[in-house]
């Protein structure tokens, strides 16, 4: 039998090969911060100067995100959190299904939050699929803003909105600030990228403080 007529390798085999070679980007390195609406123009201007896509200008996006949870049938571990994103400004694009694991903040020497992450492009009836799978909708919101690139780093500056009940009403922003995120998706063990992110965050420091955000502590903070 000639090589051209060799049997195709199974999907399971190619997946385990990819896992063995460690080429699957399953870790997210993340820094977060926020700026007031009044200061966002200055930050955007700075990012336009620092980032790769200078000529074309920043890319805009307008996404709706629905967060699902799937309870552990044995009640032993925390529910599985799943997120589905849909671009509202490009409706023919696939859904993005995301699994995000528990964030690992590490100690002071670790420059960024690291969390396991799986990003999957999906077509078809994903929302119905997840509902039937046993997932429950936890919350949803829409997020609209700008995306920049610097090498492998992705920087988003975006405003979070509540989902309005009727389409006639304009979406209501949840705060008077923009959420700023600096992230990289990489295979396991590529910690050098975290240092690059820290260096980049330092360049933005006069305008926005990008940090490791601990959600657990945020939950316990008193609202003043």
């Amino acid at each position: 039998m000639s090589a051209a007529n060799a049997a195709p390798i199974t999907a399971t085999d190619s997946l385990s090969q990819a896992l063995k070679a460690n080429i699957i980007p399953n870790q997210e390195y993340l820094l977060q911060g926020s700026v007031l609406d009044s200061a966002v123009e200055v930050l955007l201007h700075r990012l336009r100067g620092l980032c790769d896509n200078v000529d074309a200008g920043p890319e805009t996006f307008d996404d709706q995100e629905v967060c699902f949870s799937l309870r552990d049938p044995n009640q032993q571990s925390a529910p599985l959190m799943l997120r589905v994103r849909k671009a509202l400004d490009a409706r023919d694009m696939p859904y993005q299904l995301r699994y995000i694991g528990q964030p690992d903040l590490g100690d002071k020497t670790r420059p960024t939050v690291v969390r396991s992450s799986l990003d999957i492009a999906c077509n078809g009836m994903l929302i119905e699929f997840l509902n039937e799978l046993g997932c429950r909708i936890e919350f949803e919101y829409s997020v609209k803003g700008y995306m920049f690139r610097k090498g492998r780093m992705k920087i988003t500056v975006a405003k979070v909105f509540k989902i309005s009940q009727s389409s006639a009403m304009p979406p209501e922003p949840i705060s008077q600030s923009y959420l700023v995120e600096l992230s990289v998706l990489a295979p396991q063990g590529q910690d050098a990228i975290a240092e690059d992110m820290r260096a980049f965050a330092d360049q933005l420091r006069p305008l926005v403080q990008l940090d490791k955000i601990d959600y657990k502590r945020l939950g316990h903070m008193a609202v003043t």
Partner: protein
């Protein structure tokens, strides 16, 4: 990508699967077809945890014709919900291991030679479940057309010419309601799932 019809081919009592595949290969080559590689369609099914209520089944299928996609069909009651995703969906199923467990013993696949003959693409698949030969599935695709309604007569004629008059050829159950819609790769996957379901129910060993 065109319209595809999947058809079971009966293996005569005293013959093996290999014999039938060779026989059909000879017929195809005599018609002027050329072999263009091999193909593989596989299916693994996952059952929901008993504590999650009514049992649901998630079927995960791969087709070598669409090597970058994972097809997932959720069976719950009378509804079948499908999602077509990229290759990482397999890793996602591993994350769901607590909730959905694989029924490894029912892992089933159809594989064999793939032929091209003008506008047609013919695949002769031997169906194996757990190293056990289950039967023969023949896939015929007419590539220039995407409407099942427009091409069904042509496909039937081709199949009858290839398989002989003794094999009854009728439109696949899944296509009946979709004759006037645009055919997509997931329609092929639905047909495979229908046949795999039938093969899984059949007990008894056959010689490959």
């Amino acid at each position: 990508m065109g319209v595809t019809v999947l058809q079971q081919y009966p293996v005569p009592e005293n013959k093996t699967g290999t014999y039938v595949i060779e026989l059909l290969t000879k017929r195809l080559l005599a018609l002027g077809a050329t072999q263009q590689g091999q193909f593989l369609v596989d299916c693994e099914s996952f059952l929901s945890h008993p504590q999650m209520g009514a049992t649901k089944t998630v079927h995960i299928l791969h087709n070598s014709e669409q090597p970058a996609s994972v097809f997932s069909i959720l069976e719950s009651g009378t509804k079948n919900i499908h999602v077509v995703a990229d290759g990482l969906f397999d890793l996602f199923m591993m994350k769901l291991a607590q909730h959905y467990t694989s029924k490894k013993q029912t892992k089933i696949e159809s594989k064999g030679p793939r032929f091209e003959l003008g506008d047609f693409c013919v695949k002769l698949g031997s169906v194996m479940m757990n190293q056990t030969f289950k039967g023969i599935l023949i896939e015929v695709e007419y590539r220039p057309c995407v409407m099942a309604n427009a091409v069904w007569s042509l496909l039937r004629e081709f199949l009858q010419g290839l398989l002989g008059a003794s094999v009854p050829v009728s439109p696949p159950q899944h296509l009946l309601s979709r004759m006037h819609e645009i055919y997509t790769p997931v329609d092929t996957v639905h047909q495979y799932l229908e046949h795999f379901g039938q093969y899984r129910k059949v007990t008894g060993l056959r010689n490959a």
